[in-house]
Amino acid sequence: MGLKTPLYDTHVSAHAKIVDFGGWDMPLSYGSQIEEHHAVRRDAGIFDVSHMCVIDLSGARTREFLRRLLANDVGRLTVHGRALYSCMLLPTGGVIDDLIAYFLTESWFRLVVNAGTRPKDLAWIREHAAPFGVDVRERSDLAILAVQGPTARKKTVALLTAAHRATALDIERFAAAAVDSWFVARTGYTGEDGFEIMLPGTDAAETWRALVAQGARPAGLGARDTLRLEAGMNLYGNDMDETRHPLESGLAWTVAFEPAERDFIGREALARARASAGERLVGLVLEERGVLRSHQVVSATDAAAGAAPLGEVTSGTFSPTLNRAIALARLAPGSATRVLVDIRGKPHAARVVKPPFVRNGKPLIDIQ
């Protein structure tokens, strides 16, 4: 028996298939995960992501602390409510976790970190926060509902009073605001517009039911994974971990080397890695029938027998939107545009592409 979110009983009564995810009993799907996927691309889906960990940081030196802790620079957050995606690194440059930081007030920032990494994240953050006098508080009292899809915002604000509705609709992409007892962020993990709503766990089940009544379709971790992969978003533990740094994980865009004097943890290691061509994370589209899976071996199309492979798939799946297998793969430096992927002992042709594969309901990759 694993940990349970306040919505566990709601999922069980909706006949969800429950699986373990990072120690939590979470819904994998409520029937067809492909239908759930399409609902998010075409209309709206609702996910329980209460297993993720909300951490409130407070104290006068919170911004200074985060500029040390994170590879991206919260110095870029100048408007209240703005969010920033970042990795939290070891001195080696290895990724402890990826997270979102919200700037609420000068003495209050909020982090949302992954469920599976919660204990080590909290320990690391507490250790490094102490010298800055920053208070670290885990908000296990909060649940998180992700309402995602082209009609997600409309369906969500239908539950609000006129005044609150206006506040919620004013939230810009990648920003957040307090709306009544909710903390509403216009963020997500699907490549669609929508909200992530943090609210008291005691209100979660009622709000879930109200959003479902508005037409948001319950969607599980299965659809969440195919949606995030189509959107070209990394999954911690698959596409990066403590042995891999952001530059070889497709996350160079999240590392703020400027200003040069900002001394974030991992900076020296990344500066060294940056000086040489290293492995890189690319997108793959399978050109034949089959399904890409993590750890499948990727080789050059002209590889001699016994030659070292180019790398391996870090996350693979079947893309319901493209009706093709897609993947993220970590490959040796080079400019291969076509590769071979070993699927159960047989080479399958794949094309190297730049993620994302799908955004806002639209394929971004040509499928011949």
Partner: protein, 129 residues
């Protein structure tokens, strides 16, 4: 949710079903339990017609969004037909595992092996829960 186990079929512990056809051949597919455990199927590979199969040989692959899984031949024999529709419509395995989702027909070689009766398969599922 209760899974269907038709009374007129026989089963294996690897979740294949076997239907005896009037002409002595058998039809093979995967059970409702198997399709439900795999989730949405997106790719099915069935053996070529005329392929000889040994008892228990991995002869087909079913892939869902989640995982790939081998299908093992529940009998020894020769493939005489395969469900061509599955290559375009793998979801038939989800929607109708004992009907439109059939995978192949096999002409038996030698005697039919001992398979599980519906009640035995049901008991097996219960024990492996």
């Amino acid at each position: 949710m209760s899974e269907q186990i038709p009374q007129d079929l026989q089963y294996t512990k690897s979740h294949e079903w076997v239907r005896a056809l009037p002409n002595g051949q058998v039809e093979v597919g995967i059970t409702d339990h198997a399709q439900s455990a795999l989730g949405d199927l997106v790719f099915v590979e069935v053996p070529q017609v005329d392929r000889k199969l040994a008892l228990g040989e991995a002869c087909a692959v079913v892939e869902s969004v989640k995982a790939a899984s081998d299908v093992y031949s529940p009998v020894a024999g020769r493939v005489v037909a395969r469900n061509e529709e599955l290559s375009q419509k793998p979801e038939l395995l989800n929607s109708d595992p004992y009907g439109a989702g059939w995978m192949m027909r096999i002409e038996l070689e030698g005697k039919a092996p001992a398979l599980l009766a519906p009640s035995e398969y049901q008991q097996f599922l219960k024990e492996s829960e």
